[in-house]
Symmetry: C2
Subunit: 419 residues, 2 copies
């Protein structure tokens, strides 16, 4: 395949990325949206893996999820079902979804629906549970399950009704605005969460019975500064999906981790995963924890970096730079600038106020990654490596080079013979 043909394919992918118009349009039970999510099937983050290969936090989340669904009465019987192969594990990405950290989704869980109004495709993500003891980090006690049931029974119907009245919310506009307000839309979603609350509120107060459950839903939304993360992920997925499957295109369309392996997808190679062992994040730990307790990198949230947000937009978010262990604004800027070396364009929508409105680096080209040896930076939460504990810190990680090398080799093997 000629250089010019690859450039044309990449230009077409970029055009689709930049034309995307992701709207948050609903919150519906997963089983209603995804026929693939039959009883006994559970979604997880990252590339596919067997039960035997699962990491501690994913096991913790799976044990909790089986109890939440009523498939098991306790953690031990959940574990027995999983060990007996009675549960089907599928990647979120295989059904158009993305989930942060363990990414566990079961049929009764509500999913955020994001529709790309330019192309008509949809992407899904679970509701962000908040901080503290949460399923996505592998915690699974009674408080975790009670919150999941409240999200299902109370929050999801209220949010869905508000969205129907609103006619959907334009996420690209909200995300662009949040970048001007110090969010990088991975580790920090303070502004975006406040803006989406502000946008939804006039509708929420008109369709939700008051004082309850309105007050409880308002408490949940106003108390969760990471609420928007899952919307940013679904928006990124809905934006990137139309750029997948373009013949000859060398752009990366997904990066995701299951806590054991780190995987990427290449546009030209469709849904095929290229994987390498998940790296260990570097970061800051909550009191009482250290790197020795950390699980390897985990979650579908790297979809936001795949679009040029998160660590790619670190210059937007000096506060995050410090939080993830970078000392100065200059260092934050260097992370963003390094990502320019492995991408093909700057976003015309997502602008960096501290860099005079230049766009975030967008369109990771596997050829540039392999040529430079520079791999994508990713901002991330850090889970305890044992089941049932939860978040212990936050930090940064660099994607492993090996999966990019494999992907480029596979690309070359297919496209050179057709060139």
């Amino acid at each position: 395949m000629s250089h010019a043909a690859i450039e044309a394919a990449n230009a077409q992918a970029l055009q689709r990325l930049f034309a995307a118009r992701p709207f948050w349009t609903g919150v519906r039970p997963a089983r209603e949206l995804l026929p693939q999510l039959a009883e006994g099937t559970v979604l997880h983050a990252g590339p596919p893996l067997s039960w035997e290969a699962t990491c501690g936090p994913l096991r913790g989340a799976l044990e909790g999820a089986l109890q939440y669904e009523g498939w098991a009465a306790d953690a031990a019987s959940a574990r027995a079902l999983l060990e007996a192969g009675q549960i089907t594990l599928r990647p979120c990405h295989s059904v158009g979804a993305v989930g942060p950290m363990t990414g566990v989704v079961t049929p009764r869980m509500p999913l955020l629906v994001v529709e790309n109004r330019e192309y008509g495709n949809r992407a899904y993500a679970p509701l962000n549970e908040g901080l503290g003891r949460v399923l996505r980090f592998g915690a699974n006690d009674a408080s975790v399950l009670a919150r999941l049931r409240w999200l299902q029974d109370v929050a999801a119907p209220a949010l869905d009704a508000a969205l129907q009245r609103a006619g959907g919310l334009d996420l690209r506009v909200l995300m662009a605005q949040a970048l001007l307000m110090g969010d990088e839309l991975h580790q920090r979603n303070v502004a975006a969460s406040a803006l989406v609350l502000r946008a939804l509120l006039p509708h929420l107060v008109r369709v939700t019975p008051a004082p309850e459950p309105l007050a409880a839903v308002v408490d949940f939304l106003s108390g969760n500064e990471q609420f928007f993360l899952n919307l940013a992920m679904a928006a990124a997925k809905a934006t990137l999906d139309p750029a997948a499957g373009i013949p000859g295109c060398t752009l990366v369309t997904a990066m995701a981790r299951n806590g054991t392996e780190f995987g990427i997808r290449l546009s030209a190679l469709g849904e095929r995963w290229f994987t390498a062992p998940a790296p260990m994040p570097q970061g800051l730990y909550f009191p009482g924890y250290s790197a020795a307790d950390a699980n390897p990198d985990l979650g579908d949230s790297a979809i936001v970096e795949t679009l040029g947000l998160g660590a790619f937009a670190m210059a937007a978010s000096p506060a995050v730079a410090r939080f993830v262990g970078l000392g100065s604004f200059a260092e934050a800027r260097r992370v963003t600038e390094a990502m320019l070396d492995i991408t093909v364009a700057r976003s015309p929508h997502f602008l960096l106020p501290t860099l005079d409105g230049q766009g975030v680096p967008t369109g990771i080209d596997v050829r540039k990654v392999v040529e430079t040896g520079i791999t994508p930076w990713i901002n991330t939460g850090i889970a305890h490596r044992q089941a049932g504990i939860g978040q212990i810190g936050a930090g940064v990680v660099q994607a492993p080079l090996a999966c990019f090398v494999q992907a480029l080799e596979a690309f070359a093997a297919i496209w050179e013979e057709e060139g």
Copy 2:
């Protein structure tokens, strides 16, 4: 007075500025809070002035205010009352209040109450009306008066009830957070307005009847990105007041404009004003308007610059820098850095994320202003110079040097003989 005695006085003033804890504690009718605000009395922004000296937008606001109070049936009869000297004009600052632009406050208008919990003093500001045709910019038609009545009858009681349930809101914390989110708290209050909405909401939904008036109050709050400005002004006033009246202190404790004159107060010289003609702002105009339509600089909002926010914090807010006609982040940074030359400290609370967390320049020293010839920068709205029209743009202005020179001369005349 010795140099050391002045430094000690300034250090004491700074200590009071930095110890201040301004909380939003209520919204009450002005006449309930201010016994000085008798029937027939109207407050205005800036230093004192006679009816004859008033500018166009202040005349427009006064004509509207008299109709709002029921003291006049129409603009013509309002004008007649004013011309006949039947109305007493007083500066907001003379009663512990601050008002943006024309700053007009009458007895029935609700005022935000901000209490400095460290020193027990209070400051007041009217509710921000939103954008478009509003009294503070000199508009006075039926829609302007109807909104003022709605604020009085509906919004103010709802907000006050929510605040009582909340036990007050810590404004210093909200303002510090907003600076990390691209606000400079004068021209841009997007983040602060969203954060205060988020903080008040759990209380608001529990004390306000639903669906109405809750829905209308939520619409007002979520639709007004400058809602927080008036809170920032009252917080700045409540913070600065305890630093006023310190013998030997050369710090500026107020800057305010009435559209005709620009005035400052010096700590050592208490409530005395030093004035010079109000300068013309430089900025961007709404379509159809130009500098020829602009009124000279107007409003008490420069109280936020007096505390080190607004233009002093321009580096926090690259988006504002462009809006007010500065081209780049580097230029925004230069405005903040220039203000370091005329201030004595950096705030330990209000930090600039783009400058690696350094504090905003705080404590304008009249000696430094006169020595360097550099005067404070101020971000500002621009009003049409005729009564009844309203806002036509936004921009920046530099305070006139003459009032600082007068203040320093007066300081020297008093304190040198006691030295």
